[in-house]
């Protein structure tokens, strides 16, 4: 199914070497790409395949589960064609940076600031990379898996039911 997807066919033609994985789950297509080709792929999807709306930018922390710790997730939507596409790119802990998608969509500005604030991933060429939800002097990145739920220096949370 995922192989027949319009966007996947085009991406495979044009960016064969940068696609790592194509997955379809519950009708949603996810394409994992190499992070150095991110801007080229996103730009191509916006210009040529009418994925004109960047719905969301977020990250996942796979601490100890995957080789590369973070996964950037870009949710795209095409208003003319009414379909969705998810682009993912892995970011390692050692080189915790990725190109900023603000060069393709203005939406990415705040969304990337939020990822920077809560995960500590740096975005290259971002116009205004500052913390957004936490105070500027906040230490640590709250959404990382090794950041304790109740903040640093507190007893770890045991859960309401354990």
């Amino acid at each position: 199914m995922a192989e027949n997807n319009r966007a996947v066919v085009k991406l495979k033609e044009k960016f064969a070497s940068s696609i790592i994985e194509v997955v379809e789950f519950r009708g949603e297509v996810t394409v994992t790409i190499k992070k150095q080709d991110l801007l080229a792929v996103l730009g191509f999807l916006k210009q040529s395949l009418q994925y004109n709306l960047l719905t969301d930018v977020t990250a996942i922390d796979y601490l100890g589960k995957k080789e590369e710790r973070f996964m950037m997730v870009y949710q795209l939507y095409s208003i003319p064609n009414k379909d969705r596409l998810r682009i993912k790119a892995a970011v390692s802990e050692e080189e915790c940076r990725i190109e900023s998608a603000t060069q393709v969509w203005a939406t990415a500005n705040w969304l990337e600031r939020e990822v920077y604030d809560l995960f500590g991933i740096t975005f290259d060429n971002h116009p205004d990379l500052r913390r957004i939800l936490m105070t500027p002097d906040w230490e640590g990145y709250p959404l990382r898996k090794d950041y304790p739920l109740q903040g640093p220096g507190r007893e770890p949370y045991k859960g309401r039911l354990s």
């Binding site: 519950r26 719905t55 998810r86």
Partner: protein, 390 residues
């Protein structure tokens, strides 16, 4: 010769027209705004982080506290995402009641919006009127769930319980009288010269800019983009209903006001259609791994008690995978992106808040206008700070 000097002004965090704790740092040249720097984060509660430590069932009460003006929509988006992960079907009666409640919530949210927007610009009567109508929706909430705001009415697989018999008449009476009330508001505002002066040609954002900034919902449709998730990516059976999607032409504050008013009329039509097709039947899917057993079985049989205890204590495992579910919240596209690792707790839950993305466009919309116009622009974006900060 008079000399001019740039002035920096803090608007908020406790300014009445910012609708919550939002601080806008304005740089002014006289009364004209040259730069806006929004400062958010005052309400950050870490809902996404908290969700990682709770079972799927326990996450639900967190979601309706995000956007306290549209709690049912927040529940609905989350529940639909979980149902997508679980791949379960919802009974028809539950779907229909979900649509009724979602559209009532849209009415409620837009009523608070028009009340506050009008009050910001100086029309007090509309404020009182709109809150009078909103009270009926609050009573309906109380009738079905016992709570006036944080309803927690939806469940993975259906609803927490069936609606009482008096529900149908109450809702029908309300939607029958609603168009008359809307005419009242329009009579007070739409042709009012003060209202027109404050809204027409103010806060203009073109369709291309709006899409580039990721604006969704009525604010995008006000810029003339004909796109609504209820019609274009239907969920909960919206494909079976007849309704219009209003769009604006001039991309200004007045158009966004008109779009929301028409949306309220259309919401009444959807509710009437849903009430007409409301048939008796189950309101919870036949899926014992996920759904709680009926209360009489919990109280009267040991199997029912064990079943209830098992779901309440351990939750239910959810297949490994990731889904994104967007719903048409009164403010725009509300999305839930859930990554499951096969356990009974979400590995990562991301909430895509419409207000957060919409607020980003405020600089583009209000730059170069007067301070007084900024108030109208904030009002027309219909932001809820609880949702922005999560």
């Amino acid at each position: 010769m008079a000399t001019t000097e740039k002035m920096t002004l803090n608007m908020g965090p406790q300014h009445p027209s910012t609708h919550g704790v939002l601080r806008l740092v304005l740089e002014l040249d006289g009364e004209v705004i040259t730069k806006i720097t929004p400062d958010i984060g005052y309400l950050h509660r870490g809902v996404e982080k908290l969700s990682e430590y709770r079972t799927y069932h326990q996450v639900l009460p967190l979601t309706d506290r995000l956007d306290y003006l549209a709690p049912m929509h927040n529940n609905l988006g989350y529940i639909l995402a979980v149902e997508k992960l679980l791949d379960i079907q919802v009974p028809e009666r539950a779907q229909t009641i979900r649509i009724i409640m979602a559209e009532l919530t849209r009415l409620e949210s837009h009523l608070v919006w028009i009340a506050c927007h009008a009050l910001d610009i100086g029309a007090m009567t509309v404020f009182i009127y709109a809150f009078r109508e909103r009270e009926v929706v609050m009573e309906t909430y109380e009738l079905i769930s016992g709570a006036r705001m944080t309803s927690n009415f939806f469940r993975a697989g259906g609803l927490s319980q069936d609606v009482p018999p008096e529900f149908e008449k109450k809702v029908r009476d309300f939607v029958d009288s609603m168009p008359g009330f809307l005419d009242q508001y329009e009579g007070l505002l739409t042709t009012n010269p003060i209202w027109l002066k404050r809204t027409v040609g103010n806060g203009i954002i073109s369709a291309e800019d709006a899409i580039d900034m990721g604006i969704t919902g009525p604010a995008l449709r006000g810029s003339g983009v004909d796109w609504d998730l209820r019609r274009d990516n239907p969920y909960s059976g919206y494909e079976g209903y007849q309704f219009q999607i209003p769009v604006g032409e001039n991309c200004d504050t007045f158009d966004r006001y008109k779009v929301r008013l028409v949306e309220m009329r259309e919401a009444c039509k959807i509710i009437t259609q849903a009430l007409d097709r409301l048939k008796p039947g189950p309101v919870l899917a036949d899926c014992p791994q996920v759904c709680y057993p009926p209360k009489e079985s919990v109280y009267n049989s040991i199997e029912g008690l064990i079943h209830h205890f098992k779901i309440a204590s351990e939750g239910y495992p959810v297949p490994e995978g990731e889904v994104y579910q967007g719903v048409e919240n009164p403010k725009g596209e509300l999305g839930y992106y859930i990554v499951s690792d096969g356990s009974s707790k979400p590995y990562r839950m991301r909430i895509r808040p419409p207000s957060f993305v919409n607020l980003q466009a405020i600089e583009k919309m209000a730059k170069g206008s007067m301070i007084a116009d900024l108030v109208a622009v904030i009002g027309t974006l219909d932001i809820v700070l609880g949702e922005i900060d999560r």
